[in-house]
C-alpha cells in the first residue's frame, strides 16, 4: 500500500503546515511556529470547490447575456455584451483586440470552469492524466485566473475616463458586475481546491490494476 517513490506526508505520519511548510507529526493540532491549524486533508475542500464553482457559473450567465458597456454618444446609445463587442471589433478589423477580449473574457473563464471541474472530479476518480500534469494544470488555473479581470478593468477605466456629459459617456453595464463576481468565484473555487489530493491517488495510478478502496479523504 505504500509506493516507495511516492511517499506522502500523510503516509509518513506527518503533516505539513500550509503556511510556513514546517512538518509536524500528523496529530499535531496547530503549527507551533506560525499558529496555523494543521489539517492533513481538508475534508470539505471539494465541497467548497463545487460551491464556488456553481456560484461562478451562475454569475457567468448574466455576464454574457447583459451588456458589458453602455456607450452613449451624442447621437446614439449602444450597449454591447462581451461577445457582441468582440464581434463588432472583429467586424471593424480590430482582430487583435477582439482576440484578446475573446481569450480573456470567454476562453479563459470557460477553460477555468472546465479545469476546476476536471480537477475536482479527478480527485475522486481515476483519470488518464498524470498527477503531475494535473498539478501543472492547477498551477496554471490559479495563476491565470486573475487575468480574467482584465475585462472588468477595461470597463472600470473607460467608465471613469469617458465621462463627457452630453457628448459621450460610457457606463458599466450589469454584465460587468456579474463578470467580476464570476471571476472572483472561480478564483475562490480554485483556491479552495486542496492540491494535495492530487497526489493521494498516485498510488492508485501505480496500482491501477489492483482493487482500490473507495474511502479516501
Amino acid at each position: 500500500m505504500i509506493g516507495l517513490h511516492a511517499l506522502t506526508a500523510k503516509e509518513a505520519g506527518l503533516v505539513a503546515c500550509t503556511t510556513c511548510t514546517r512538518v509536524w507529526p500528523i496529530d499535531t493540532p496547530s503549527c507551533a511556529r506560525c499558529g496555523t491549524t494543521l489539517v492533513s486533508r481538508d475534508k470539505r475542500s471539494l465541497s467548497r470547490v463545487w460551491a464556488w464553482w456553481f456560484a461562478g457559473l451562475l454569475a457567468y450567465i448574466p455576464a454574457n447575456l447583459y451588456p458589458m458597456l453602455e456607450t452613449r454618444t451624442l447621437l446614439s446609445t449602444s450597449s454591447d455584451t462581451i461577445v457582441g463587442g468582440a464581434v463588432v471589433l472583429w467586424e471593424h478589423g480590430s482582430y487583435g483586440v477582439a482576440a484578446i477580449i475573446l481569450i480573456a473574457s470567454v476562453l479563459i473563464p470557460v477553460a477555468k470552469f472546465m479545469c476546476i471541474a476536471f480537477l475536482a472530479l479527478s480527485a475522486r476518480r481515476d483519470t488518464d492524466v498524470s498527477a503531475h500534469s494535473r498539478h501543472v494544470m492547477y498551477e496554471v488555473v490559479e495563476y491565470i485566473g486573475r487575468w480574467s479581470m482584465i475585462d472588468v478593468f477595461v470597463v472600470a477605466i473607460l467608465s471613469s475616463l469617458v465621462q463627457l456629459n452630453v457628448a459621450a459617456s460610457i457606463t458599466p453595464g450589469p454584465a460587468a458586475l456579474s463578470f467580476a463576481l464570476s471571476v472572483i468565484c472561480t478564483m475562490l473555487s480554485a483556491q479552495a481546491f486542496d492540491s494535495r489530493m492530487i497526489w493521494d491517488r498516485i498510488d492508485m495510478d501505480d496500482t491501477r490494476d489492483a482493487p482500490v478502496p473507495e474511502a479516501e479523504a
Partner: protein, 795 residues
Amino acid sequence: MSDPIPPVPVQSAQRSLLDRVTIVWLVPIIALLVALAVAWQSYSTRGPVIEIAFQSAAGVTKDETEIRFRDVAVGIVEDIRFGAFLDEVIVEVRLDPSVAPYVDEDAQFWVVSPEVSTQGVSGLDTVLSGVYIEGLWDEKAGPLVYSFTGLEDAPLLRDGQRGLTITLVATGGGLSGNTPLLYKGVEVGRIGPAMVADDGLSVTADAVIYSPYDNLVTQSTRFWDTSGFSVNLSAAGASVDFDSVASLIAGGVTFDTYVSGAPLAAQGSVFTLYPDQEQARASVFNTSDTQTLDLIAIFDGNVAGLTAGASVEYNGLTIGEVTGLNGIVEDTPAGGSRIRLQAILSIQPSRLGLEVNNTEEALAFLAEQVEEGLRAQLVTASLLTGGLKIQLTGVDGATEAVLDLDNRPFPRLPTTASAVSDVASSAQGTLERFNALPIDQLMQSAISFMDNASVLVGNDDTRAVPGDVRALIADVSAVVGADAVQALPAQLLVIMAELEGTVAGLNAILADVNERRVVASVAGAVESAEAVIARVDAALAGVPELVAEIDAVAASVAGLPLEDLVVEVTALSEQARSLIASEATQALPATLSAVASELESTLAQVATLVADLNEADAVTRLLAVVDEAGATAQTVSGSFDGLPALIDSLNQIAQDAQGLELDALIARVTDVVTSADTLLAQDTTQALPGELNAALAELRLILSDIREGGAVANTNAALQAVRDAADQIAAATDSLPALMNRANTLISQANTTLEGFEGTSPAIRDARDALREVQEAADAVQSLARALERSPLLR
C-alpha cells in the same frame, strides 16, 4: 525506507450531510435565488406586446425606437417584420404596463420624424434621437387590442386637444393640405391632407378648429382660401389683397361668419371652400336664407359705367347690388316716347338691420324714408374707371314722390339727378376757354402802359427826387438822434401789439374758413373746379376792358404836371435840409442837454439854499418870486396847450388831402410846397434856432453864476438872478410855440405832399419816416418845455 510506521487513525467515510456540506454552498444558492427573483421580476412587470402595421418604417429601429405618449416613452420597439405578402411593415412594440390598459381600439399611432416645410420645422428632436412612434389614446381604459394600423400623418387633434372637426370641400382647387386655418390672422386650426373626392370633381380635406375657437364656426360660416394674392380692378378701384406673407407662401384658409344667429356647426359638418373673400361673402347673400328685396329705379341721362353687380349703398353702407339693367320705353309728356334706363336693385333688408325675412317691414321703412326725401342717385364709384354705383340718399327739398308699390315687376324707387362727374370733359372745357382769352390784346395794353410808366420814371427831375430826399433824411436823422426819439420803439411796440391783435383776428377768420368743409368729396371737388373755371372764364372776359382802363389811367398819369411838382419838392427838400443842417439846430440838443445838467447841479445848490432860507426871513420874499415864476410857467404851459389840437387838425387835413382827387391833390401839394419854401426862406425861421440857443446859453451862464456864487449871503442876488433867468426863459419859450406852429405846419404839409405820391419808392418811404421823426423831434421839444415848466427852479 523501512522504518516502522505509526498507525494512522482512519476515520469513517460515512459522515453526516452537515459535515459534507460547507457554509460556502450558501453562495451559489443565494446567487440562484437572486437570479430567479430578477427573472421573475422582469417577467412579471413586462407589458404586453402590440403590433402596429405601417406602410413603411423609415427610421424605426429595433430595440431603440421608442413609443411615446405626450412625449414620454411608454414602450420600445422589440421587433420589425413584414406582414403577410410583404404589403406592410409590422412593428412589435413592448408597451409599458402602466399605459397598457388605455391602449384600446381608439388608440392611434404614427411615426414622428423631422420635417421641414413652409409651415416650419417640426420634430427637430428626432434628428438627434432618431424617429419615434407617437401614440394617442384617450384616458378611458378599455380591453387591450393587440393589433393596430399606424397613421401616415399625425392626426389633426393631438395631445389631448379638443376641437371641431369639419370637412372642407373645394371645387375650384386652391385647397392645399397641411395648412393652417386662420381667423383674423391667428391660427385657430389646421387642415389635414387634401385629397380628391370620390367623384373626382372636388377636393376635400379634413380640418379641425381647436377649442375654444370652435365657437366661431356656425352653420353659416364661410371659408375661403387666402393663399397667394389677388389683384382686383373694379369700380371701387384697384386692390391687391393677400392675407399674410406666411399664407402667401404656404397657403392658408380663413373663415368668417357674416350672418349672426345661426346655430353652431356640428362635428363632421361639410363646408364649401371659396376661392376668395368676395365670393365667400357674396355666397352668404345669395343663399335663400337671406331674402332680398327687389326694387326698380329709372334713371335719365348717360349711365355708361353702371354694370350689373354695382353696389347699392345707403348712406355709404352697401346694402345690395344692381342685379339687372335694361332700357324701358316711356311716353313723354310731350307725346313722344323715349328710352330710359331701368336698374333692378336687389337689397338685403338684413343689411339695414331689419328682420331678415320680413320684406313688408322693409318696404314700409323705405316708403317712409322716400316720403322724407330718400332718392336713388347715380354717383361715381371710381374716378379712375368711371364706374358708377347707386346711392340711396336723402335729398333736401326734393319734389314730392312716393315709393310706387304697385309698379311691376318690382316697386319703383324715385330717383334724383345724377352726381356723375366727368373729370376729362371738364378739364377740356376749361382749356378751351383759356384758349379763347384775348391774351394778345392784354399784352399790348400792358406794353403801352409800361411805356408810359417808363417815360414818367425816366424824367431827370423824378430821378433827382430820391437823392434830395435822402439828403434831407440824413440831416433829419442827425436831429432826431436825441434821446426823445428813442421813444419810437415803444410806440412801435404798441403798434406791433395792435398788429398782433389784427393778426389774431385774421387767424380766427382763417380758422373759421378752415373749419368749413371746403371739399366734401371728389365729386364735390370736381364741381368746385368747374365753377371756378367758369368764373375764371367770366373774369377773363373782362380783362380787355380792364386793360383799357389801366391804359387810360396811365395816360392821365402821364399827363399830370408831375415835373413841376418834382421841382417844387426838390426845392422844398433843399430848404428843409438847410434849415435842419444849420449849426444852431444841430447844436440845440447838445445845448438842451447842457442846460439840463446845469439845472441838475443848480438844483442841488438850490436845495441847500432853500434849507438855509427856511431858517432865514427870506421865505416871504421867495414866495413872491415863486409866484412870479409860476405865472411865467402858466404862460409857457398855455402856449403849449394848443399843440395837440393843432396836430389833430393837421391830421384831419392830411386825411382830407388823401381823399382828394389826384389832380387837385397835386395842385395843392404844389401850393403847399411853395408856401413851405417861402416859410423856410424867411429870416425869422432861420434865426429861430439861434435865438433859442442864445436864450439857453444865457440860462446856462446864469446857472453857472448861481453855482459859483452860491453863498447864503448872496441869496437875494441869486434869487434875483433866478427871477431874471425865469423871465429870460419865459421870453425864450414864448417864441417856442410860434416855432412849433411853423414846424408843425411845415411837417404836415410835407407829409400830405408825400402821401399824395402813395408810392412804394424807398426814398419816399424814408421821407415819410423822416417826417415822422421830425414830429418826434417836435414832441421832444415840447416835452423839454414841459420839463422846464415843471422845473422847481422856475417856481
